[in-house]
């Protein structure tokens, strides 16, 4: 009897150990892929980084040097305007979904958001092209922003909803029991309590769209010159990487690598900020 039991335990222990190592191994594989990509980008890109990359405009073929100043400015403009549009809208929808969870209306909105998340970015770009670019008759930063805002909505909405749903209902009831209105208890109690999660949702949304190129092809289009006008076409980093990286010129390749490092650096910084504020604003109930 005893021996049988011991044998069983040995087998189970072996399985246990096996499972543990498989999990470790797969995790490591994942991590390795990320590290290799980062290493490759930095290896190629860091030598290309120099001051002129940040301060100069692109130069025509044949002239050495040149930078991505216009693309950085363009990206910043397009992404910030997109954030300005998407964050309030996304939070509002997130609140709606959290409040009305389980009701038919909320279910439908929730499915719509899921579908939106799955819509290919190129399609979003085309739709915005038809909606905005065509009527206005010109490619513009604004239309790029609208396209990116649509891309940003799903993560912002989902994060807001998830965060608010996790806040205990009793907190809102406590506010209501004090005679507060629904609006006040949401704005003054729920949102501040969930600010960490909502904020990280916004940042991840921004990180997600910062590297998008497809929707911008139809909208912001690209511009070899520096432009601050939101109603005019602007350049953007992903587009520079796309255009220059696929060009036959060595010089342009260098600029594309530099742009990649800037973009990746931007995303990494965003993630670090998210982690920092998440722990900072962590609210215990």
């Amino acid at each position: 009897m005893t021996t049988i039991e011991i044998a069983g335990i040995k087998r189970r222990k072996f399985k246990d150990t096996m499972f543990k190592y498989i999990v470790y191994g797969l995790t490591f594989t994942c991590l390795a892929v990320v590290l290799i990509i980062l290493f490759y980008i930095f290896q190629k890109g860091i030598p290309c980084l120099n001051w002129s990359l940040f301060s100069q405009m692109p130069k025509p073929v044949g002239e050495s040097g040149g930078g991505v100043l216009n693309a950085m400015v363009g990206s910043l403009m397009v992404v910030s305007i997109a954030a300005l549009i998407a964050i309030p809208l996304g939070i509002a929808v997130g609140i709606f979904l959290a409040e009305k969870r389980g009701k038919p209306a909320a279910d439908r909105v929730s499915i719509a958001v899921d579908v939106l998340q799955g819509v290919p970015s190129i399609v979003v770009g085309m739709v915005v092209y038809v909606w905005v670019v065509k009527p206005l008759g010109i490619f513009s930063a604004l239309s790029g922003s609208i396209a990116l805002a649509i891309m940003m909505l799903p993560p912002v909405i989902k994060n807001t909803e998830e965060t608010l749903v996790l806040i205990p209902n009793t907190l809102k009831e406590a506010a209501l029991a004090l005679g507060a209105s629904d609006l006040k208890s949401t704005m003054k109690i729920l949102l501040p309590t969930g600010i960490g999660g909502i904020f990280s949702g916004c940042m991840l949304g921004i990180a997600r769209v910062a590297g998008e190129v497809a929707p911008l092809l139809f909208t912001a289009f690209g511009n070899p010159y520096l432009s601050f006008n939101i109603l005019k076409p602007v350049n953007s980093l992903p587009m520079v990487i796309f255009n220059y990286g696929s060009s036959p010129y060595e010089d342009w390749h260098r600029i594309a690598w530099g742009g990649s490092v800037i973009l990746v650096g931007f995303v990494i910084i965003l993630n670090v900020i998210v982690k920092f504020f998440e722990s900072r604003w962590k609210v215990q109930f």
């Binding site: 004090l178 005679g179 209105s181």
Partner: protein
Amino acid sequence: MEGTILRTENLCASFGTNQILKNINIDIPEKKVTAFMGPSGCGKTTFLRCINRMHELNPEATVQGKIRLHYEDVYQMDAMTLRRKVGMVFQRPNPFPTMSIYENVIAGFTLNGLKLKKAEKDAIVEDALRKVALWDEVKDKLNNRATSLSGGQQQRLCLARTVAMKPEVILLDEPTSALDPLSTAKIEDLLYELKGNYTLVIVTHNMQQAARISDMTAFFYLGELLEFDDTKKVFTNPKNEKTQNYITGRFG
């Protein structure tokens, strides 16, 4: 009845098709402690939540019959106004986690958009915290997060938050079920002291607690109010056999 503050007339409450309360008629006396006890699912918490209309937050909830606060039908009143008159303390301490201790006490005013001068706020906060015997423990750290307090302190803070609004009635939904015995004793002492100024209605699973702190005890069973009498009477000579079986632990 003389000195009645809350009266219900044939109150029925349901969730969807599930009727929770059946024809409750009760007169709750003013400035006394009234305890609701009964086995789980007997409707006592639902009844409590009907009084300040928290029950209706559930979309499936329906209510028939009347609840009168000083002869005024609460279902004709504005819910927000009602809830300022009828405060509530919950089962688990739920201070607002983003707010400081000070802000939590004054939260009832800020959430209702009532603007107060700093001195007035200070006075309200100190008064409320003194009433719940928390002042001495927190007076040097009023700007700390409320969640930094212990569970018992948090619950007293929640009581202070309610008391600060100067309600006429305070509803307590098993306020000590998440607390250790010492914190429980402190809360019970507080309720004993508060009853001169407020009408307290407490739901409790703990029979001894009902016995210790209440003047009147109501026994709920399967959505019906089986007995409502002086606590002493209920615990020494209950009229209803079911009450007797419940308080002697012979239920089943």
